[in-house]
């Protein structure tokens, strides 16, 4: 009987141990699942908040925002753009967001306690969209060379981690995580080796952007002790001359040639739509509508020769008028999305529209 009681007691404890283990396992699995869920939720929230910050910063012209991201300093944000669709998120996490509208120019990865967001309006010749430049206090920009752009860049980027140097050998890596060299006249990077101070730095963290000729840009990446050009042909910066050339600044902050061109394509898509807003849906068939249609109807209804110049600039002047120029702008913006080499034609067309708009300013309603 005693033996039976002993077996019963042992069985009783085994039963308790198994039941306890099952209960513990159940709660443990809940805890693990919850931890996973809350981590995913946190990264999704971070991406969502970042998206809202970027949306806010993107719409307000010429604003610089310095965002305290100390809570994010353990995470690496990544930015990419492919086939006209931009994507950003946290590296090695599922949370990410895609955007096919807003052009965002940023390094491929960003890890810092302070993120800098700067918005610049892109005009061709009217305002097309705001370009959003993103960088951080850990990304150092060394400016080399001469020309108006150098002074303008240094003045415009107050608060950024940037420095003007006379010689590429002056580069000092210090505590920076990523270095970009801006060669404003194309005399410092091409054909030269990587400066000694940068040779120990990881290849992916050293890059250069080189401006040359009549507003062309090339992107370089460190490969051992040499600079490697990452784009096949020089990329033409599509912009009108003047201060705060958004397309040129965008090249400075873009991760590489591919993301630069991909984001520029977003702007050209918007330009195509905007030429319809100004000229009407069938402006490519030389049928005016939109704002230009309203201007034309207004001056036609006045029927006075006093406004002949206004109508001339809108439709009548044979050599250059808004109807023909907007039609060309729409067609060229559409062509540029298919074939990048044709994008350069946008510059002269936009320049023509700008000139007509200036002519209209004296006595007529302006287009923009």
């Amino acid at each position: 009987m005693e033996k039976k009681a002993q077996i019963e007691l042992t069985f009783h404890w085994i039963y308790i141990a198994i039941a306890g283990a099952v209960i513990l396992l159940f709660f443990f699995s809940i805890i693990v699942k919850q931890k996973q869920v809350s981590e995913e939720r946190l990264t999704t929230e971070v991406v969502g908040i970042m998206d809202s910050i970027l949306a806010g910063a993107g719409v307000s012209e010429k604003t610089k925002n310095f965002i305290d991201a100390s809570g994010l300093s353990d995470y690496s944000l990544y930015f990419d753009c492919e086939a006209g669709v931009g994507e950003f998120g946290i590296e090695d996490r599922p949370a990410r967001t895609q955007n096919s509208i807003d052009p965002v120019f940023a390094p491929r990865t960003l890890k810092s306690h302070r993120i800098i967001v700067w918005s610049l309006p892109y005009r061709l010749p009217f305002k097309v969209i705001d370009f959003l430049m993103i960088t951080s206090s850990s990304n150092k920009y060394y400016v080399l060379g001469s020309g108006d752009f150098v002074n303008e860049f240094i003045n415009a980027t107050e608060g950024f981690n940037r420095e003007y140097i006379l010689n590429i050998k002056e580069i000092d890596v210090d505590k920076n995580l990523e270095v970009r060299v801006i060669d404003a006249d194309g005399n410092n990077v091409p054909g030269n080796p990587i400066p000694a101070n940068l040779q120990e730095f990881p290849d992916g963290k050293v890059s250069a952007v080189v401006f040359s000729g009549s507003n062309f840009v090339d992107f370089y990446q460190k490969e051992g002790i040499l600079w490697k050009k990452t784009n096949l042909n020089p990329i033409r910066v599509i912009s009108l001359p003047g201060e705060r050339d958004a397309a040129k600044y965008a090249a400075v902050f873009a991760g590489d040639a591919k993301t630069y061109q991909c984001n520029m394509q977003k702007a050209f898509k918007r330009l195509e739509i905007l030429s319809e807003v100004y000229g009407g849906a069938d402006i490519d068939l030389l049928q005016i509508g939109g704002k230009l249609g309203e201007m034309n109807d207004f001056y036609t209804s006045l029927g006075s020769s006093a406004h002949a110049d206004c109508l001339g600039n809108i439709v009548n002047y044979q050599d250059m008028n808004l109807r023909d120029s907007l039609a060309a702008l729409k067609n060229r913006a559409a062509a540029c999305q298919l074939e990048e080499e044709t994008c350069v034609d946008l510059i002269s067309t936009a320049g023509g529209i700008k000139k007509i708009n200036e002519n209209l300013r004296a006595n007529c309603i302006t287009l923009y």
Partner: protein
């Protein structure tokens, strides 16, 4: 003695069943409480997201190059819509709704209501969610610049832009 042992075993068995029953009732309570809590927080989160989307959509609308007043190369005028662009913008938004503007405005309804001197309404964008359960309207005062009504000079009207978002 055997009968009393049987009884004691029966009592112990009933006791164990009662303990297990109470345990599972408590677990069930926990699950129900957690489920209800999750339901409430999900609704709260949805409302929060809808509110954020309403503000974001309004902000984007106010700064749209398709609508905003410009003056050549100068900075654009905040909270001002160009009536010459606004009057025909609905057609453009419709034409590019699926492959462009839906990505900006999503499911929403945007219109401009003139308050002074007239009372015209201009529907800009309209994409109502078929099974919408909630809507969040946001209003913002804007000036409406009409160069034609001012006979070539500028006439500023007043109105508001209403952005209604759905979820």
């Amino acid at each position: 003695m055997s009968a009393s042992r049987d009884r004691s075993a029966q009592i112990r068995m009933t006791e164990t069943i009662a303990v297990l029953f109470i345990f599972f009732v408590l677990v069930l309570f926990g699950i129900i409480f957690y489920y209800k809590y999750q339901q409430v927080s999900l609704v709260e989160k949805q409302e929060e997201l809808l509110g954020a989307r309403a503000i974001e959509t309004t902000l984007k609308t106010l700064f749209l190059p398709e609508l905003i007043c410009s003056r050549g190369e100068a900075e654009t005028e905040d909270n001002c819509f160009d009536m010459l662009k606004l009057r025909s913008i609905n057609e453009t938004f419709k034409r590019y709704l699926e492959n462009y503007y839906f990505d900006i405005f999503s499911y929403s309804r945007i219109y401009v209501q003139e308050i002074y001197p007239g009372d015209s309404t201009y529907l800009l964008y309209d994409k109502v969610k078929p099974d919408a359960v909630r809507e969040e309207p946001t209003f913002f005062v804007v000036t409406l610049r009409d160069e034609i009504a001012g006979k070539g000079g500028e006439l500023h009207k007043f109105g508001y832009v209403a952005v209604v978002v759905y979820s």
